[in-house]
């Protein structure tokens, strides 16, 4: 090739593996420097928001639960809380606690699957949970059993493990019998010990360090580790009421992805949701076993190091089991699975903490009890910008490696976010373009 002409080399990685769903990543380098990084998430454009229009509000929990196969509870909880806010419904403390128990189950299932099957393999340079199981069969068995326990809680409280059907606006369709929950206790107690063992195992991993400063955003609550309630906290700005979400968070279209990018307070910088953010703002209200574990980890671990996300998830699993035990022991069903309410025109918003981070819903409901308009903002699309930003900063240190190794390292970084790209998503390819000259 003659002087002055550009050389372009394309490298394609067939699949970004071990993430939920699929996604695409394009990296362009010019003369050895990163020119652009674009993460492509192909979101069925607002399909569900359109689908909800005109639907009875009673259908909303069931419909939104189908948006994500891994996080149905996150979508259900956010939707019912938003609609309840629109209708000024106050749920009872019992309903509130049971909903948290449901969320504990989902965190257990989602986090454990990610820890063992998706993320832990990266720390042992193996390509899958299958190979990890050959090295660590007891640990993987432990993980599978922990996930099963999460399933059991969902089955008892949610109505079915495969798809929760018991959640409704105002509460639940039925309350489980006390015995049904108490029967879970031995497994939950086993699960607590197993989650502690998991966290200690994970804490011993050799963590790469990538701890570039980042804005960490999560719900914060003065009295409890946030799931369904709280205000929005950031390590870089004043707290934001959930009611004011749309005054601060803006979604915008980008050419390379149909999933919208989110920014905060007009700031062109990205922000980061998820377990590291939650722990940053709420570690003081973890249940005691999890709090002790957090303190054990000490100052050595950085809540900014993206690769520590697996440890953050492990700590949250401990919290989830501890809180589940507490909830089950305290459970005394009363006669009120659901509070009565009247229909009216109204607007309501809610934000909850899905396993992957803050999720926001807004609904306008009519006095006929239908959804007139909705808005759903999942955590992964909010994190998209941050992933791109992180890759831009992470890549320069890798450029001396072979292209396949660079691609592998990028995948590892992306996996730390546990992106749930199937809440949207389509294809995946990692494309490199090197332009020289």
């Amino acid at each position: 090739m003659s002087d002055g002409e550009s050389k372009t080399r394309s490298i394609t990685v067939k699949k970004l593996t071990r993430v939920e769903g699929e996604g695409g990543l394009d990296v362009r380098l010019r003369n050895g420097a990163i020119e652009s990084v674009r993460l492509s998430i192909y979101e069925a454009p607002r399909f569900f928001e359109a689908f909800l229009r005109g639907r009875p509000i009673d259908d909303v929990p069931d419909i939104t639960a189908r948006i994500c196969g891994i996080c149905p509870i996150a979508y259900q909880m956010t939707s019912v809380h938003a609609i309840e806010n629109a209708l000024k419904i106050k749920i009872t403390p019992l309903i509130r606690k049971l909903r948290r128990l449901l969320y504990c189950a989902e965190w257990i299932e989602s986090h454990v699957l990610h820890i063992y099957m998706l993320n832990a393999p990266d720390f042992f340079h193996v390509d899958s949970g299958i190979e990890l199981a050959k090295q660590f069969p007891e640990e993987v068995e432990r993980g599978l059993r922990m996930k099963q326990i999460g399933n059991r809680i969902l089955e008892v409280l949610g109505g079915r493990a495969i798809h929760p059907v018991n959640v409704r606006v105002g509460g639940f369709y039925r309350l489980p019998a006390r015995d049904a929950l108490l029967r879970l206790l031995p497994d939950l107690q086993w699960g607590l010990e197993a989650s502690l063992a998991t966290a200690r195992w994970v804490a011993g991993f050799d963590f790469p360090v990538f701890d570039e400063p980042v804005e960490l955003v999560a719900l914060q609550h003065p009295e409890e580790y946030p799931m369904n309630e709280g205000h929005i906290a950031s390590n870089r700005r004043q707290t934001i009421k959930v009611d004011d979400y749309e005054s601060h968070f803006t979604e915008s279209q980008v050419a390379h992805s149909t999933a919208l990018h989110s920014t905060l307070d007009g700031d062109s910088n990205s922000y980061f949701l998820g377990p590291l953010a939650r722990l940053t703002h709420n570690h003081n209200v973890l249940f005691p076993p999890a709090r002790r574990l957090f303190d054990e980890c000490g100052a050595d671990w950085s809540l900014h190091n993206r690769f520590s996300s697996i440890l953050a998830r492990s700590i949250e699993v401990v919290h989830a089991f501890a809180e589940a035990i507490d909830s089950v022991r305290d459970y005394r069903p009363d006669a009120t699975p659901c509070v009565a309410y009247s229909l009216c025109d109204g607007d309501g918003v809610a934000a909850t903490e899905a396993p992957r981070g803050l999720i926001f819903h807004r609904y306008h409901v009519t006095r006929e009890g239908e959804v007139a308009e909705s808005k759903i903002v999942p955590p992964t699309s909010q994190n998209q910008r941050q992933i791109e930003s992180d890759l831009c900063r992470y890549l320069p240190g890798l450029l001396g490696h072979e292209d396949s190794e660079i691609a592998r390292q990028c995948e590892k970084l992306i996996r730390t976010y546990d992106p749930c790209i199937s809440c949207s998503t389509h294809f995946l390819t990692l494309n490199w373009e090197r332009i020289e000259g």
């Binding site: 689908f51 948006i67 099957m117 069969p137 993987v140 599978l144 493990a161 495969i162």
Partner: protein, 153 residues
């Protein structure tokens, strides 16, 4: 006499279009067998691992596109058929399809040679779509074949 049940049926699927097939077949078989056969439903193949020791025969039912006939039965214990199963698209979450889940089970010294995979032809897997006409027909065929098989054993 073995205390382990002779068979278990596990429907794999989701609420989306023809992906419901596995669940519908599981429900139908349970009804036709009057509860004599344990039938259950999972949404992710990884969840079937805990049931592999539950019976002498494990029948998995899943919908997939590209099946030549309405219903195809493959046995994981047969080397050639296992290769076919390995080629199926990993429709499970996180790319963990049936084959990967069974490979994981083997890594954990679980038995898998007793697993039969009943593939039912599906064409539409989009969210909030109904079952396709062809899937409805295939479901009936699969239920009949599976019940006949269960009654023989």
């Amino acid at each position: 006499m073995s205390s382990v049940p002779s068979a278990i049926v596990i429907g794999i699927g989701s609420d989306h279009g023809d992906d419901r097939v596995g669940w519908i077949v599981s429900d139908a078989v349970e009804k036709l067998c009057d509860g004599a056969i344990k039938c259950l439903k999972v949404k992710t193949p990884i969840d079937l691992i805990e049931w592999l020791d539950a019976a002498d025969q494990v029948h998995l039912v899943d919908a997939t596109a590209g099946v030549e006939s309405e219903v195809r039965r493959l046995r994981y214990g047969c080397e050639e058929q296992r290769k076919l199963i390995a080629k199926l698209p990993p429709n499970g979450t996180h790319g963990f399809g049936v084959h990967r889940a069974l490979e994981l089970a083997e890594s954990l010294d679980r038995r898998t040679d007793h697993v039969h995979l009943w593939l039912v032809s599906g064409s539409s897997f989009r969210p909030f779509t109904s079952l396709s006409q062809s899937a409805c027909s295939a479901i009936d065929r699969c239920v009949q074949l599976l019940v006949d098989e269960l009654r023989i054993h």
